[in-house]
Symmetry: C2
Subunit: 296 residues, 2 copies
């Protein structure tokens, strides 16, 4: 057991469980909390120590990671009645790996700093597979010396770890990532819809276009699922909608008008309204079919 640093982990969903698991596997003492106890049970069986709330996690740990769902969840975990801030000590380090608002990262940072502790925003991309295989991309914002201090821990979770600048920069970078994916998904789905209606064989069509200027991750990884009408989630529609909402809020605040992002948000809202919030982002295809009045 490593005793030099005690880790706290809040949020043991699909991503968080795998991530916290890497710390346990590496021999760290790991205090955990999750809203739903049952989801934390497998980690407890592996040696994690259960805490009754975020405050207790903070009390018993040197560094507290959070990986929860929505900005509201992050706020509850930090500012709630039994939140992290209640137990914060000088030199505590808090790392929020949830994808959330850059403005919230800044708000937490300021409060945490006022208590002589530190805060880092470090959202990830790479999905549940990346979490499981410790190949996540981690986008880090905050003070660089704190980043350097926690880098060995982040290296247990991901491969492509990049320091992006002051607090909030990690979240902003994640927004850039989601903005590219949003419009790319539209292009990929529209292309498959066109192919099918033009009488092409979609798989043969992909052989022509995946290696050239149209080539992209979504075409390689999600187009085959769409062809097979497999809409099971890699990444949930409703989580993507959360991210796109944050991106629109932030870009509007900056005075930007991003029509592709807005279009993607409206299409994904449609997917959710059709009842597919828990499907994968490739379910965008279903909204495009509906718009063209194509029966499923």
């Amino acid at each position: 057991m490593k005793n030099d640093i005690i880790i706290g982990w809040i949020g043991t969903g699909k991503m968080g469980s795998s991530m916290a698991g890497h710390f346990i596997n590496s021999g760290y003492i790991c205090n955990i909390y999750n809203r739903t106890y049952s989801k934390a049970k497998p980690l407890i069986d592996k040696g994690a120590r259960w805490c009754n709330n975020p405050e207790e996690v903070a009390l018993k740990s040197d560094i507290v990671f959070t990986m929860v769902g929505y900005p509201e969840d992050v706020e509850e975990v930090y500012f709630g009645e039994s939140g992290i801030l209640k137990a914060l000590r000088p030199n505590h380090i808090c790392v929020d790996m949830t994808t959330t608002k850059p403005s919230l990262a800044i708000k937490i940072y300021e409060l945490v700093k006022s208590m002589s502790a530190d805060f880092i925003d470090a959202p990830v991309s790479g999905g549940d597979i990346g979490a499981r295989n410790a190949t996540l991309s981690i986008m880090v914002g905050g003070e660089e010396n704190i980043y350097n201090k926690i880098l060995p821990l982040l290296e247990l979770l991901g491969k492509n770890i990049v320091y992006q600048g002051k607090v909030g920069s990690g979240q902003h970078t994640k927004m850039c990532n989601q903005i590219v994916i949003a419009s790319t998904m539209i292009g990929v789905c529209e292309s498959l819809l066109y192919a099918r209606n033009a009488g092409l064989d979609s798989e043969t069509m992909l052989k022509s276009i995946t290696k050239g200027a149209a080539g992209c991750w979504s075409l390689d990884n999600l187009a085959p699922r769409i062809i097979n009408k497999n809409y099971e989630p890699g990444f949930y529609v409703e989580h993507f909608i959360k991210d796109l909402g944050i991106a629109i809020e932030e870009s509007t605040r900056m005075g930007l008008k991003l029509p592709g992002l807005e279009l993607a948000k409206s299409l994904y809202d449609k997917v959710k309204n059709m009842g597919y919030g828990k499907k994968g982002t490739q379910a965008l295809m279903l909204a495009l079919e509906e718009i063209s009045l194509i029966k499923q």
Copy 2:
């Protein structure tokens, strides 16, 4: 000099010159025609034989390739007063490599077949670099036995050569390619605009996102040019507008509504109206800046 087959080549622009050049370099007799003589001159200096019109090219050649600009140009070259059809003989093979309307490919095919000759549509992607290095993607439509006959010639021009099905399928596949690129470019430009306004370092941001789920050719190849405000053409805005117009026309005919494609077309029209028709597709950034009222 290879004498088994005499090649005709119509259209010696940026792409066509490189492509015809590969045939000449391989020892084929090559009859060429181009609307502007001066652009054909370098090929003539390499041994190509000048013809005064498409009819003369067809008359003197066994197989005629066309690589011109717009559907109207293809029509002129085939149906014009001194067009290819005037000199068509049985067993002649015509190969249109221009990106044009699937419906036009079908029209030419039917006329050519009625004269006991053959027609193949074989648009390409890969740009001027692909043409120069003979690494083009070639998407082929038409009769499969004719495809097999000309495959050794296509292999002198490209690497990823895929038979897509009956006549028009090559053009349809190219449309799928352009539909993906259209929306992807919106995502890439919006992401860079967001990054700049969020105070991120755009190059550092790219380090986080290019290898993951946002990864795409445009991000790898065009984002760095956009960051450097380099809008010189790889692929012309006005040619892309032509392609998007065809894609909209065809998809509308199929009863499809593709909102991403429509958005891209309207944004690229804006780029052209701003005077950037001869810039590269990455100049989409300039229209997005204008929409957000950002000064160049």
